[in-house]
């Protein structure tokens, strides 16, 4: 199908974007890379009357270092993240995650801001954001605010962003000598994660874990931090039995989604297996 008809605006500043958002309210959708919105519009699952294309808004297309963190503009594409020397050096987990998103065409157009604002239950970035403890900056009519990743992913396709706000940049801490990995089970046609696990371990040398952050996507309505796994690893020596027993808690407290690709039980099983494999990969 082709999309239903819509009006198109291309603001050249954040102020103009915000005034368009408040003018058209519920009927408007922001267009960034288009790789979550346009497929929905082509299926007519989304029929916004007004599209606000922020591709020409300045100040959101850069990756820069800020102290011991990287700040990534909302319009930065997945390809830019995966190929950036700065990201590969300071935050390899993010580069590893970005290079597994979709396919080459998706990575050339899709943006990190759009992906996070859309918050698909099987998107890859949310797991990495939770594992990294990223901070998301949103700008609205009342000004700028920072939302921690832990508070950002509220429910299915629902984030902590207000309808009149725009996500402008993401701040990701450098992972230093942490052991990191992102592992996913891709659905073979779409590349979406049936289950995806992002692991960020702060270790003492190589074998003792001081603290762990584990983000899991694809399992339930939104990406979440596997608290059971994290507390099963924190302060412990990272031997095989500890890893296995901690990973067995990956799906605890979650309501797994079920569809033709995987039943809820199978997804939970995959979460446990892939959490274990991701931890092992991070340590290798």
């Amino acid at each position: 199908m082709i999309p239903a008809s819509f009006d198109y605006h291309r603001p050249t500043s954040i102020e103009e974007t915000l005034s368009l958002l408040s003018k058209f309210g519920d009927d408007a959708k922001i267009l960034s890379g288009g790789h979550s919105l346009v497929p929905a519009m082509k299926l007519r699952l989304a029929q916004p009357g007004v599209i606000i294309d922020i591709g020409k808004v300045p100040g959101m297309s850069e990756i820069r270092q800020d102290g011991d963190a990287i700040v990534i503009g909302a319009l930065v594409t997945h390809y830019q993240v995966e190929s950036s020397d700065l990201v590969k050096r300071l935050c390899p987990l993010l580069a590893q995650t970005a290079e597994q998103i979709g396919d080459v065409q998706v990575r050339n157009r899709g943006t990190i801001g759009g992906s996070l604002a859309h918050s698909d239950p099987a998107a890859d970035y949310p797991a990495a954001m939770l594992a990294l403890g990223a901070e998301i900056t949103a700008v609205g009519p009342k000004g700028k605010r920072t939302i921690k990743a832990d508070d950002f992913f509220v429910d299915m396709l629902t984030t902590a962003l207000e309808p009149n706000e725009i996500l402008t940049e993401i701040r990701v801490p450098a992972t230093g000598s942490n052991k990191v990995a992102y592992l996913k089970v891709p659905q073979s046609a779409s590349g979406f994660a049936i289950v995806g696990v992002a692991v960020n371990l702060t270790t003492n040398g190589n074998s003792d874990c001081k603290s762990a952050r584990i983000g899991i996507t694809g399992l339930s309505a939104r990406a979440f931090r596997a608290n059971g796994v994290e507390s099963g690893l924190a302060g412990k020596a990272l031997d095989a039995p500890t890893i296995k027993s901690a990973s067995s808690k990956a799906a605890d407290g979650q309501d797994p989604l079920s569809d033709i690709h995987a039943s809820g039980d199978y997804r939970a099983h995959l979460a446990r297996v892939y959490t274990q494999r991701a931890i092992e990969q991070a340590l290798s």
Binding site: L45, P121, D155, M156, T158, N227, L257
Partner: protein
């Protein structure tokens, strides 16, 4: 697709039953409901503008209340058609008094979804249905609390406002409370 659940409403059962079978109240509480107009005995036509995140749809449909046994039981039949597909379902609602001031609402439903949303968005359907049910019961709870308070004070009922933000905030508060409950369980 089966949906079922239990919700506790902070009001006596009679009030909750009355509100849950009153089309004016239902129109205020069903997420995205723009109107609920009578179309026969216990039957109403409705316009719903509802969705989750980017996926939003406009649906027209019919709601019928059947097997009405106050104050404990009724059956709700829903059919709707919209830009993302169609939905046809029925649900059995049972109300149990829990003391004098609380009601346990149990619902059990079977919903058939077809069209684009069913083929492409299948993994989201269960989650979306749960979200909408949660929003509905959060709104019903607010209505029931206001009605119970008004009755206790012998004043006319002042219906609470259910703007999108207020309902979302109430429902988020419930979610957050639920997380803290879950976290303390897993520790």
């Amino acid at each position: 697709m089966k949906i079922d659940g239990t919700h506790t409403i902070n009001a006596p059962r009679d009030i909750v039953y009355r509100l849950m079978t009153d089309p004016v109240v239902l129109a205020r509480c069903i997420p995205g409901c723009e109107k609920l107009e009578p179309a026969g005995e216990n039957s109403y036509t409705t316009n719903l503008k509802v969705g989750v995140g980017t996926i939003k749809g406009n649906y027209t449909g019919k709601v019928t209340l059947d097997d009405v046994q106050p104050p404990a039981h009724y059956k709700m039949l829903v059919e709707g058609k919209g830009n993302t597909g169609f939905v046809k379902g029925s649900g059995i609602i049972d109300l149990e008094a829990s003391g004098n001031t609380e009601t346990l609402v149990k619902y059990e439903g079977d919903v058939q979804v077809g069209g684009t949303i069913a083929s492409v968005g299948q993994r989201m359907l269960q989650g979306a249905a749960k979200m909408m049910a949660s929003q509905f019961f959060t709104a019903i709870n607010a209505e029931a609390e206001a009605a119970a308070k008004a009755e206790a004070n012998q004043e006319p009922v002042k219906p609470p406002s259910h703007g999108f933000f207020r309902t979302t905030l109430r429902w988020l508060a419930g979610l957050i409370k639920g997380w803290f409950g879950r976290r303390s369980e897993s520790q």
